[in-house]
């Protein structure tokens, strides 16, 4: 695990660091990427008194795809299926929106789109993952209770119970679920629950070079997510009209983002 992660870090430092200084919002000194969730590691984990939040800051995402790579490696995600992915939004001067996500953004966005023949007004990247809905449709529809909400608020899968009916896949408004072609059961992003329980950040958060993916405890008043969520800034959730009450928030999400 460590080897792989430090490898990813090295790759990131070596290849993208140059451009990072241009987009780094907090200055170069914060290149030290944290691994631990403050306030969790080494302490007793009381499952009934935990609350976590995930914030994606769209203004910071550079579409490098490191998170997707980390995720694919962490879970050995079969090709063509995605627990997380990054979308590229391109907005033309006609207000036309062009969205794509080749290989779920695994290879990063190294080339501009060539199929757009109008002047581009704006471009941004939108990472997607499980919204950890508090009213999760996937949990509601699962006929065998294989998908459930843990006391600490994570929507998780019991892959030993799942019958592979794919009802949850239909029900998830965000399409973050898929049927694993190898195990034949449903699979989804867990915000790296196994890591969180050890006090470690989710793999995608840890490797994100710009801090666009933020994760932390809402019980810890010093955590970044606590400060952002309790602060005055505007945060949004995806597809609010679905009534799913996500614990995943977006900072700087434009109205075009679905």
């Amino acid at each position: 695990m460590m080897d792989r992660r430090s490898f990813v870090k090295k790759v990131l430092n070596g290849t993208i660091a140059g451009s990072l200084y241009l987009v780094w919002p907090m200055g170069g000194d914060s290149l030290e990427i944290p691994e631990e969730i403050p306030g969790i590691k080494g302490k007793d984990y009381d499952i009934h008194h935990q609350e976590f939040a995930f914030i994606v800051d769209i203004t910071q995402c550079i579409g490098c795809g490191s998170c997707c790579v980390a995720d694919k490696r962490e879970y050995n995600v079969p090709d063509g299926n995605y627990r997380t992915w990054v979308e590229r939004y391109v907005k033309g001067f006609s207000d036309q929106i062009y969205v794509d996500s080749p290989h779920g953004g695994l290879d990063g966005y190294q080339h501009p789109r060539t199929d757009i023949d109008e002047k581009i007004r704006d471009t941004f990247f939108v990472p997607k993952l499980c919204n950890m809905c508090k009213e999760a449709p996937c949990v509601q529809v699962c006929p065998v209770g294989a998908t459930f909400i843990s006391p600490d608020g994570f929507v998780l899968m019991d892959e030993k119970r799942c019958v592979g009916c794919a009802y949850c896949i239909q029900a998830c408004p965000y399409s973050v679920r898929f049927l694993n072609p190898v195990t034949k059961v449903a699979e989804k992003c867990t915000w790296c629950y196994h890591r969180v329980r050890k006090g470690l950040l989710p793999a995608c958060v840890e490797v994100c070079p710009t801090g666009a993916r933020k994760f932390g405890s809402m019980k810890d008043e010093t955590s970044e997510v606590y400060k952002i969520l309790k602060g005055p800034g505007v945060l949004t959730v995806l597809r609010k009209e679905m009534g799913t009450f996500p614990a995943l928030y977006y900072k700087g999400a434009r109205r075009e983002v679905i």
Partner: protein
């Protein structure tokens, strides 16, 4: 919803969420509501005779029950073929999640199956008693069980049987309605899919179920009688066709109402629904489901209802219309189940579906699944005579 406004603008980018490229519910999930629908419709015909005393349906009443039984017997097969882990299917019965619309299927199915089997046994008790008398060994034991160990065929006993049948059919109606309305709700309850999540879904499924079942009975009755060189009861066919007309008008109206309300209310992701019907589903929905398989039969059914037509032509037309309507319902199921999934939840694009031939949910598997009930029917026909009036050359 701002994001969803300009429909033309959305489609240019045709962006499908990466996980939405796969269509997870494929042909077996098209068959599943189709098969339960056939059961429902056939049961309605039987109920009209046994409960509502529509005497003209007597020739097909018993057959309808057997037909329903043969199809109900395999209704779980497409589901099992569809499951990623079919060996775990008992989890649904053993540890059902009460919040899930799907979890109840096993129970509702078991109850319908039980009721239907009892109805058939009571309807055929006379025949079974006869068979019991002429059989030996374990076969006799079987018949003893099937006749509830009663050989009493007195007038009183048969009258009592009829009461039981009426009672069972009486509770059978809400059960079949629930069975199929429920199948519709499995789709209607998915709020993430704008073509499915409408309270009309169970209603549409229910009426189209009746259409397919009644059509199947008409077609099977005419074909089997013709092949066997037996007469076809004109009154029976006329009553069936009238019932079919009624149900089809309802079904078609509700199907169109759903499309109309999407485009009139312009709610949610209506531009995606419109784009779907006018894009990827343009031919399977507008051309096949609506024009060829709905408008034409509607017109023909109208002619059959208004004008006096010779029996032979009437029967021929009845068979053709029924065949088209059987296709209509199948296409409708396809358009709902597969069509609904072509629409990505990105609200920006549509995926594609290409049926496989040899997959466990492929075309060959579909053909085999649909052939099994006919084999079951054939076996059943050896024990349970289809027609009440088999010995008569002309039923009336």
């Amino acid at each position: 919803m701002d994001a969803a406004h300009s429909s033309a603008a959305m489609l240019v980018s045709n962006y499908v969420f990466p996980n939405d490229l796969h269509v997870h519910w494929s042909m077996m999930i098209v068959l599943y509501p189709y098969i339960t629908g056939l059961v429902d419709g056939a049961f309605i015909i039987a109920a009209l005779y046994y409960l509502f005393d529509v005497k003209s349906l007597r020739p097909v009443a018993r057959f309808s029950l057997l037909f329903a039984l043969a199809f109900l017997a395999i209704a779980t097969l497409p589901l099992l073929l569809h499951l990623g882990r079919p060996e775990r299917n008992f989890n649904m019965l053993l540890t059902p999640s009460p919040s899930s619309a799907m979890a109840g299927f096993g129970y509702i199915y078991a109850v319908s199956m039980g009721v239907l089997v009892f109805i058939v046994l009571f309807v055929y008790r006379e025949d079974l008693v006869e068979l019991r008398a002429t059989s030996k060994g374990w076969l006799q034991l079987l018949y003893r069980a099937m006749t509830f160990d009663s050989i009493d065929l007195s007038k009183d006993a048969l009258a009592f049987d009829r009461k039981i049948i009426r009672f069972l059919v009486g509770i059978g109606i809400p059960i079949t309605v629930v069975l199929h309305g429920y199948v519709g709700f499995i789709f209607g309850g998915v709020k993430a899919n704008p073509t499915w999540s409408t309270p009309l879904m169970p209603v549409i499924f229910l009426f189209s179920a009746c259409v397919s079942g009644i059509s199947a009975i008409i077609l099977a009755y005419i074909v089997i009688r013709k092949v066997k060189g037996r007469s076809i009861d004109p009154d029976c066919i006329k009553t069936c066709i009238k019932t079919l007309t009624l149900f089809f008008i309802m079904a078609f109206t509700f199907e169109m109402l759903e499309v109309f309300s999407h485009s009139y209310l312009k709610s949610g992701y209506h531009h995606m629904v419109e784009g779907l019907l006018n894009g990827p589903l343009a031919s399977s929905f507008w051309l096949w489901q609506v024009k060829i398989c709905s408008v034409i039969p509607l017109f023909v059914l109208g002619v059959m209802g208004i004008f006096k037509i010779k029996d032979a032509i009437y029967n021929f037309t009845a068979a053709i219309v029924s065949a088209i309507l059987l296709l209509q319902v199948l296409i409708m199921r396809w358009n709902v189940v597969i069509g609904g999934q072509l629409m990505s939840k990105s609200a920006r694009g549509y995926t594609e579906f290409h049926p496989e031939w040899f997959d466990k949910e492929g075309i060959l598997a579909v053909v085999i699944v649909m052939a099994i009930p006919f084999i079951i029917l054939f076996v059943l026909s050896k024990i349970f005579p289809f027609w009440t009036t088999d010995n008569e050359t002309n039923v009336k």
